[in-house]
């Protein structure tokens, strides 16, 4: 790992970040739109609710936490796709840059942008709906780490698929895949709300445990540590598998010529 090369990729993407409306929308714009529209909806539904806690808090907590996973996944894949769209993949991978350094750079970029976007979302949620995420205390970093790790695993998996099957064929997954995962992650409702077959999928998703514990904390101010540890264990497993997959697919792309074809 070479720090200069990682820095090169980080700065290269930071240069262009403020220059495109689409990047702003992906990082901050769309999560803010969700926050406003779901916040208003939840505030309205609250007037009919007899629950002991705020529906707004439940929904907005879900939105902000889920945005951590979606942003981290999107950041990882979009940085790769940006190189592909710019026909820059051959340039960077004919330099001494390794795929490991590239992925490390995307993780750093994700963390930088996430701090900014989640801070804005959190402050907005607090100002508009009195949702205080800091109230999660020391559980908050654990939730965030688990959500980040899952986003990265999915992001790496999508890049691996692009390397194997061609970028243009697969790029829609960057926006769609987590959309399919969200219902099984129980972002806004407990796992018991799912049909039995769906619960079997939900229990292998690390995000499910985060959202279950988020709600448990909101209701009872307690968290089952073993669930968070299980989430972490699943995340580490998926992260290792996704990294193996992407390294394997990168080498495969060098064999099949997909790395050059992706530029066309």
């Amino acid at each position: 790992m070479n720090g200069n090369r990682i820095l090169a990729i980080v700065l290269r993407h930071l240069y262009v970040w403020p220059r495109g409306l689409e990047r702003f929308m992906w990082s901050i714009g769309w999560p803010m739109v969700s926050l406003f529209s779901w916040g208003l909806t939840a505030s309205y539904l609250q007037t009919f609710s007899s629950l002991s806690i705020s529906i707004t808090t439940l929904i907005l907590g879900g939105i902000i936490f889920w945005s951590i996973t979606t942003r981290s996944q999107l950041e990882t894949t979009v940085n790769f796709m940006d190189e592909m769209w710019n026909k820059n993949l051959i340039n960077i991978f004919s330099s001494p840059l390794t795929i490991g350094e590239f992925l490390t750079a995307t993780i750093l970029l994700d963390l930088i942008k996430l701090v900014i976007s989640v801070s804005i979302l959190t402050i907005t949620a607090y100002l508009l709906y009195s949702l205080n995420l800091i109230g999660f205390g020391w559980y908050l970093p654990l939730f965030v780490i688990n959500l980040l790790l899952f986003g990265w695993s999915v992001g790496f998996f999508i890049i691996g698929l692009m390397l194997r099957l061609g970028g243009r064929n697969i790029q829609e997954l960057a926006w769609a895949l987590l959309g399919f995962v969200a219902p099984f992650s129980c972002v806004y409702y407990p796992i018991t709300s799912l049909p039995v077959w769906a619960q079997k999928i939900a229990i292998v998703l690390p995000t499910t445990y985060v959202f279950e514990e988020m709600r448990r904390f909101m209701f009872s101010h307690e968290v089952y540590w073993e669930n968070l540890l299980l989430s972490l264990a699943l995340n580490l497993l998926y992260l290792i598998l996704s990294l193996l997959f992407i390294f394997l697919m990168f080498e495969k792309a060098r064999e099949t010529g997909n790395l050059t074809k992706m530029e066309g």
Binding site: A8, I9, N91, P96
Partner: protein, 305 residues
């Protein structure tokens, strides 16, 4: 003077499924040499270049660069070489200096800022350093690509059709800049182009690929000399029929091309041929005698003659 081999390729094979793109080629390139890879479309030039820069893995065979096996020393070798091609871009939402700084950092250049300034000056891009790539003309973009290619003062430079899609004036300027830089630094270059005059002008040696195999390898002049016939073009004012009849009788290849008669003939037979035309009363206004060129060799080989 004994020169070290910078590139050594042994029995290189690249297959894509059932298609064999490169079929067991072997060649070497010496230190400071400029070698042209020539061949018709689909001959395997870009595939060879892609394997030399490591974005494509050979199916079989060995590539050694700077005396080291490529796969085992990929990072180290890539740090000492660079690449530019007509079919790649630099990010269009980035400014010229941002792109060059990025590659300066990627190639671990200690003083990449000074290096960028130096290259911008050499390639006459100083006024454009704050421009976005998208706002540059294709000729200006090509100069930025070349700045990128020279950012690490590469010992080995691979250029895949660097002047393709450019008007002759811009291509000529670029060619001169490349030659100047390469001669200054004694850089080893592998160069592909469809412009035969360019290859003749720049390259010390040419490797001719066809259907993934090396079919010829020599200096541009020696390859051109393999075509033994010169071409004489005559604008005949009186006696076109007589000329064609004479050629037919003498088994000289001749054809009418618009207002001209074009004749393929050995160099040493030219004097006798022109003397014979005078004897049979043929008058002509214009005459041009073209020696065989690399392009003639290219066309002949590519067409399988």
């Amino acid at each position: 003077m004994v020169r070290n081999n910078v590139i050594e390729v042994n029995n290189l094979i690249k297959r894509f499924g059932h298609v064999t793109a490169i079929d067991g080629i072997s060649f070497s390139v010496s230190d400071g040499e400029i070698v042209g890879l020539l061949g018709p479309n689909g001959a395997g030039k870009t595939t060879t270049i892609d394997m030399l820069i490591g974005i494509l893995k050979p199916t079989a065979g060995k590539i050694s660069i700077f005396g080291k096996p490529f796969e085992q020393n990929r990072g180290e070798i890539l740090g000492e070489m660079n690449f530019s091609a007509a079919y790649i871009n630099l990010p269009w939402k980035m400014k010229v200096w941002e792109n060059l700084y990025t590659f300066g950092r990627l190639y671990n250049i200690a003083d990449y800022k000074s290096k960028t300034n130096e290259l911008l000056k050499e390639f006459m891009l100083e006024d454009l350093r704050d421009k976005f790539m998208r706002d540059l003309s294709s000729g200006q973009q090509a100069r930025v690509y070349l700045c990128k290619a020279f950012i690490n003062d590469p010992k080995l430079l691979l250029l895949d059709e660097p002047t393709a899609f450019m008007d002759p004036d811009v291509a000529d300027t670029l060619r001169k800049l490349i030659v100047k830089k390469v001669q200054e630094r004694k850089t080893t270059v592998v160069f592909t182009s469809h412009n035969m005059a360019e290859v003749t002008d720049i390259c010390d040696r040419v490797i001719f690929l066809q259907h993934g195999k090396i079919v010829a390898e020599d200096t541009p002049i020696a390859l051109a000399k393999k075509i033994r016939f010169c071409k004489i073009r005559l604008l005949i004012t009186d006696g076109q029929k007589r000329t064609l009849t004479y050629c037919r009788k003498q088994k000289i290849k001749a054809r009418v091309e618009g207002r001209f008669v074009s004749v393929d003939i050995r160099e040493k037979e030219i004097a006798a041929f022109l003397s014979s035309l005078a004897d049979i009363g043929v008058d002509y206004d214009e005459i041009s005698i073209d020696k065989p060129t690399l392009e003639d060799f290219f066309l002949k080989t590519a067409r399988g003659n």
